[in-house]
Symmetry: C2
Subunit: 338 residues, 2 copies
């Protein structure tokens, strides 16, 4: 099943069921007006939404055209967004570039931060920044949405609490990060609103590409129209999604609609830092990682962070080449203040 | 105006207007079913709620008895909870005890972390912990609730976006903090669900005790029935609430219903670390601070963290001795797993 939230209809938008090929959508006000409402009562409402989905796929005349530009993030605002760093390769690389050793525990104890969830950018909304000097970067990721997860859940039991998957652009302000992390309390100003793919999908939509813990497909990022990266999300993911959910729930329950991210998707190559697309590699899922590799290779980064007008597109395709989630497609714009 | 959310009525509870003396409450389903709904449309709905409040105060027969034990946190779940450390004295002390210098920038750049907001404990709910070895502690704080705050707001303009105030118990798992902060991404497992006072109040309810930025009243904490601390929230608050709101909104807007905390209220005494209540001082707002003072004074902490069965009560009184927000009153209990 595929679900989206149209911007129209208020702060939480309007829940629609989207056809598998993303061509059409159907509002479902008699079942649930918003995706959060559906998640709040998922066991009861999901089968009703699945019935609409079956009809929509079977009848090409059903529903109305689906325009991703009219879509908000599937959860336009959420009660929780936590983001792991499951591709530990990425963490090791970024630290290496600044000469910091990575503690061995990072391979067994997930890194995860509590992100802001009070308002996500829509998948085709601009990314506002007051200054290019902030070092605006994208991070292409995958995220899951849970129902109610009890405190202390095991990773095995967490698997059953994963109800939806989405793509993420975890917007990061690189030049604000060192000082902010140096204060010791994690990200706040350096991680502004993230955006998510137009469509959230139930795990079965991924077929064999979802093994219950990991998505085995390349995550494709384009920068200003050129391929930037297509690492396989199923490779080098040290902590799978159930492990990340269990980590988040160790000392407290997670409420329905909690969003748990993978961190930047990143693949090693022969144990090394991978290769840019321009050198025949699978590339990267953020500028910081390419800059890190440039630093390791040549002593200094040469690729700049995003500038006003730059455009990032993040998408994931099935084996037949069809877009599973629709595309995150955003342009960085200057913000002149309130 | 005073507002609360009764637990009955679903995940967001039922919004009620509460009489000034906390004796009675009135549901307002034709105005707003939940506090979040009221905050989503505050400019329109607040005057209607104020009218109910006036009637409730004028007519002793209006409304039904208000029982804080039936109250959820005013926002049972919220889209955002960020917590500052505005009483920099507290930060300096805690660092001193572990031999860490505090950077001078901490006096000019607020420390703030993104907390979990997907489910707050009710004001009289137990605090579940799987182990006393987690080092369970309370932190008595004050928080404000905003309407929609634009990105890049000035501290001056942020003042007008503060719509409600509440008390907070920012539950902290002290023994999980060093390792988690050591990973560099801030709190996650070490800051489980917080709880808030039964009642949220508009700033005017504080009269002269609210100067537009700071609450000038003692915040009173009892531990197992004995006075533990009563530092004045208006003393030694280095960053006032508008400054904290502006800090949170530097790189992104804050959605209506965002909760911004003060951090643990803490007073110096003659430039020093204050004194415990048992020695005639105003005491502290968390065990960690008392333990820090014990460490500085005697070389080691002697007060243990909370044990199963321990009870914490946090309250704030007006000059006439009336409780403004009702009491947070919670007992730590053993959690045996899902």
């Amino acid at each position: 099943m595929k679900l989206a939230s149209l911007k129209a209809g208020g702060r939480d938008g309007t829940l629609v069921v989207v056809a598998r090929d993303l061509s059409r959508a159907q509002a479902v006000p008699t079942i649930a007006r918003t995706l959060q409402a559906a998640l709040d009562d998922w066991a009861t409402l999901a089968p009703q939404l699945e019935a609409v989905y079956a009809t929509l796929n079977a009848d090409p005349a059903a529903g109305a055209p689906f325009d991703p530009a009219q879509a908000a993030s599937p959860l336009p605002r959420a009660y929780q967004w936590v983001d792991g760093s499951a591709y530990v390769n990425h963490v090791e690389l970024v630290r290496k570039a600044r000469g910091a050793e990575m503690p061995p525990s990072f391979w067994t104890d997930p890194l995860m931060y509590q992100g802001c969830s009070d308002g996500f950018l829509a998948p085709t909304d601009p990314i506002p920044a007051a200054s290019e000097a902030w070092g605006v970067d994208f991070e292409a990721e995958i995220a899951v949405v849970t129902d109610d997860v009890p405190m202390g859940v095991s990773a095995d039991a967490a698997r059953g609490h994963i109800k939806l998957l989405m793509l993420v652009n975890d917007v990061s302000l690189r030049n604000l990060i060192p000082a902010e992390l140096g204060k010791g309390f994690g990200f706040l100003q350096s991680k502004p609103a993230s955006s998510f793919s137009p469509v959230a999908v139930t795990p079965d939509e991924l077929g064999a590409a979802w093994d219950g813990g990991v998505v085995h497909r390349p995550l494709v990022t384009h920068l200003n129209g050129a391929l930037f990266g297509q690492p396989d999300a199923g490779v080098d993911m040290t902590f799978d999604f159930p492990t990340l959910v269990a980590h988040a729930a160790k000392t407290r329950p997670l409420a329905a609609g909690s969003v748990v991210g993978s961190g930047t998707v990143s693949n090693k190559l022969d144990g090394g830092p991978g290769k840019p697309v321009t050198e025949g590699g699978v590339g990267y899922s953020c500028l910081a990682e390419l800059r890190t590799v440039e630093t390791i290779t040549t002593g200094a980064p040469k690729t700049p962070f995003l500038r006003f007008g730059d455009r990032v597109r993040i998408e994931l395709f099935d084996e037949a080449g069809a877009s599973v989630f629709g595309a995150i497609d955003q342009q960085v714009v200057r913000y002149d203040g309130p």
